[in-house]
């Protein structure tokens, strides 16, 4: 690890100011991606701005139609939340499948979404549910937020404060874990709303994406059989030592079916 300055602001504007005023500074939330990267000397920020003192970023609230999760809420809290288990059980299930117990205790929803790892779980839940990302500056719809490999709509100095999820009729997540890393080799989140179905895929490509043909088919008939014959184009899908693109494409269909099964169960 190379030396860096460490800041722990207690106000969001202070954190934003540190980020914009210090060149090559970085936010650290749970640190589950950043700290290993620092330890391997693959990144060398000049300063870390730690969000852990910002109490307003933690916690889960709801109203009639939505649930809002503070950006610094750890995965384990989401997984164990009675509120989320009752209203969006698919999202609680997703959180319970991330990493291992240590990662789930430290890692946060805001950190995961801001990092936009192409194989992370939360982007599938956020995009699949059509959530809204609330930042220190504005609100961004999930469809406009994820821009590709580790890229998001966040601007310099912009900090995610919470994510607001609409409560679906049904939702489910199915994940095929990469054997070694246990990131999603393919993860599919399916959510049924009164006005239609959303299907979001993580792990298969350079970033989370939706599958309109599956959404149309499931909007007509919310059942695994409706999408069993829908094949995904291999163009643009990832290929590596664990899985070539055609296998990932096949898994998208299998995991989408299983996500629907999970939503129906």
């Amino acid at each position: 690890m190379k030396p860096f300055a460490y800041h722990q602001p207690d106000q969001i504007p202070d954190a934003a100011k540190l980020l914009t005023s210090i060149e090559d500074s970085k936010l650290v939330a749970g640190g589950m991606t950043l700290i290993p990267t620092l330890k391997q000397r693959l990144a060398s920020p000049t300063a870390l701005v730690d969000l852990s003192k910002l109490g307003s970023l933690k916690g889960i609230t709801d109203d009639a139609a939505t649930i809002t999760i503070g950006a610094m809420t750890p995965h384990a809290v989401v997984a164990a939340s009675k509120l989320i288990q009752t209203k969006i059980p698919g999202l609680a299930a997703l959180a319970s499948m991330i990493g291992d117990p240590a990662v789930r205790s430290r890692g946060t929803i805001g950190g995961s979404v801001a990092n936009n790892d192409p194989a992370a779980d939360y982007p599938a839940g956020v995009l699949g549910l059509g959530a809204t990302i609330i930042t220190s500056k504005r609100e961004i719809a999930a469809d406009k937020f994820f821009l590709g490999l580790f890229e998001t709509a966040l601007e310099l100095g912009e900090i995610i404060t919470a994510i607001r999820f609409p409560v679906p009729v049904k939702a489910g997540y199915a994940k095929f874990k990469a054997p070694a890393s246990r990131y999603a080799l393919v993860g599919v989140f399916v959510a049924k709303f009164p006005d239609g179905v959303r299907v979001a895929v993580t792990g298969a490509g350079p970033g989370v994406f939706r599958v309109p043909p599956m959404e149309a088919a499931l909007s007509g008939h919310f059942d695994p059989s409706a999408i069993a014959a829908i094949k995904i184009d291999t163009d643009g899908l990832a290929s590596d030592i664990h899985a070539e693109a055609d296998y990932r494409a096949h898994l998208v269909t299998v995991m989408a079916k299983r996500a629907v099964e999970a939503a129906l169960s």
Binding site: A180, H242, L251
Partner: protein, 795 residues
Amino acid sequence: MGNVIGIGAAPKRKEDQRFLTGRGNYVSDIKRPGMAAGVFVRSPHGHAVLRGIDKSDALASPGVIAVLTGDDVADDGLGSLPCGWGITDAKGMPMKEPPFPMLAQDKVRFVGDMVAFVIAETPEQANAAADLLKIDYKVLPSVVGVLEAVRPDAPQLFEDVPNNICCDWELGDKAAVETAFKKAAHVARLSLVNNRLIGNPMEPRAAIAEYEPGTDRYTLWTTSQFPHVVRFLMGALVLNIPQHKLRVVAPDVGGGFGVKQFHYGEEAVITWAAKRVRRPVKWVASRSEGYVSDRHGRDHVTEAELALDETGKFLAFRVNTLANMGGYLSTFGPNIPTNLYGPLLGGVYTTPAIYCNVKVVFTNTVPVDAYRGAGRPEATFVLERIVDVAASEMGIDRVEIRRRNMIPKEAYPYQTPVLVQYDSGDPMGCLDGALVAADVKNFGARKAASARKGKFRGLGYSTYVEACGLAPSRFAGRLGARGGLYESATVRVHPTGQVTVMIGTHNHGQGHETTFAQIVSDKLGVAFENVDIVFGDTDRVQFGMGTYGSRSLVVGGAALSKATDKVIVKGKKIAAHLLEASEADIQFEAGKFSVAGTDRIKTFEEIAGAAYVPHNYPLEVLEPGLEEQAYYDPVNFTYPGGCHIAEVEVDPETGTVTLVNYTAVDDVGTVINPMIVEGQLHGGIVQGVGQALFENAVYDEGSGQLLSGSLMDYCMPRADHLPMMKVATHSTLCTHTPMGVKGCGEVGTIGSPAAVINAVVDALSHLGVTHVDMPATPNRIWRLLQNASLPVAAE
């Protein structure tokens, strides 16, 4: 006053008290006064000419003490890292043995090859300075696979090693095998890959070296399975340090699996550097560094043919293997795919003629050497796979074809056609026991239940035999060993009757402190808690060859048993004097010396006291003191064997293989501590399952980059991958070891890969699948099913 806990009991492990309470003493825990930090700079290229290194910026970096390179090694006239085995080819010519410099000179030959050593006040400063080294590489094409390396146009690693072939080795009667094949009613053929593995001990390698100018002595603390061998190889052959001026300490070591049974260049560099800078120097590898520098295992490509008569009797077995050595010859490197592979191709069968050719090949990869099982899992995998292929092709039941060819219990000792003579065994008994324990008779019902869920269930058998208890020195010497393979133990009885044992094996997870204490407690009638086992320090332990090849109990335990017997013999002499009886009339049992047929006794403690306070003592004929030493050189290998049965379920939709049941019945000879044996079997089986289903070290051809370079991409088996295992022993006693022991450290790893893969093939056989290469990953299975002759019927 504690109790005697003897042979066959299962006390909790003595050493676990300190491990589980965080009081272990590992190399990285050790701090020496004035200690500096060292980091190795490693080649990022698989193959390159090293044109020059500019140290100036690195030397000017804050805190830097020294930057050492291959030129400094050459200037000091130091030796090459030695290979402990010199094998010969089919024509009797010695293997090609190019030098293995401890820091690269002229060329680098794998990603991770050491180029420089940077010493600074702190690890951070050393790392920062390492980034400033300007190394001028001329990158060359790399070759990483054995098939590619022997092609005529392949990149050449060494000028004087044509076609990258280190040795073209053979074993067996080629002509007899050819004759048998001509008479065969059926010939089964199989091409397979034995995948490359990375050992992954929990504790990464580490070393600290210190030089004391006052005594001209060096001390090296290192994560080693064999400190005395490191002292010899490094002191005598690399650094020219006299043995009495070099102390090597391997304290608590967090797992080895073979990875730590080699003399590594890091050890030599740091010891040499400590004298140059007159400071203790410490190096601790990161996990990623271990991936590109710990010796890898396996990596074979094999063509095998089995000739059978019309009844399914094996007539002859022919095996041609290309074995990857990596970029240089490591300590045991060329021995593993030859002497520890070919002689095991007979397995538990009566195959009368066997021929094996192994081309040992250099590639631009980390040197390959012994990894738990070392050669014997590879042999077992080839044999047990092709037996299944033959059974399937001839329409003979897989268990039946094994029975028809098994060596009957009465036929032991059994001379194989490939050098080794098995002293004892009962393969049929192990098979019968495993069939019952695995509930094979109800497999059909379980398979039907799986089918109802859309899953394919398969059952796989593997029998095996291994040669362990390395090794009879004379025999090993004929095969090319450059050292002895005996073991030594000293039993020191203190004046108050407690016992300290100094033994040359090394405990790094095997439970020796418990097992060896049980042997002493049993034999001397001393309380278990009153026996301590000392190992891992060349200044405290007389000598030893270390721990590998399932040898610690077999060879080390035998030396301990012999030394303990000598203590009893001397004790009887002392007792005879004190009891005024003839020595021949003295009996020793349960810690008491008695005169036969009387109630006159002396306790072990009384005898120990008399030996050290010799007022009433036969000083004219007997030395005072009670301490005995023994060296033991085995007369033969030991041959544990057994039968493993794996049961898997395949999800045809995703290709995922789930191991649902696992049964092992093993013949390990006398069991000292059944709990420890069970643990060794569990761990060994898991490592074999890892090879079969998950683990794969993958290099990029051309660049030589290790693509599976971390635990993110190299999949280790985890608890949730495994079912509860059924493990039992069905032991015959070794006829030539003092306690009848055979060893159990590697058996699990040897039996399991073939059992698992045979189960996977069985699950998919209705689709026309006849072989699956390891690891049987979901991606690989799904792809096989896409190409299978029948449509996937998942519904």
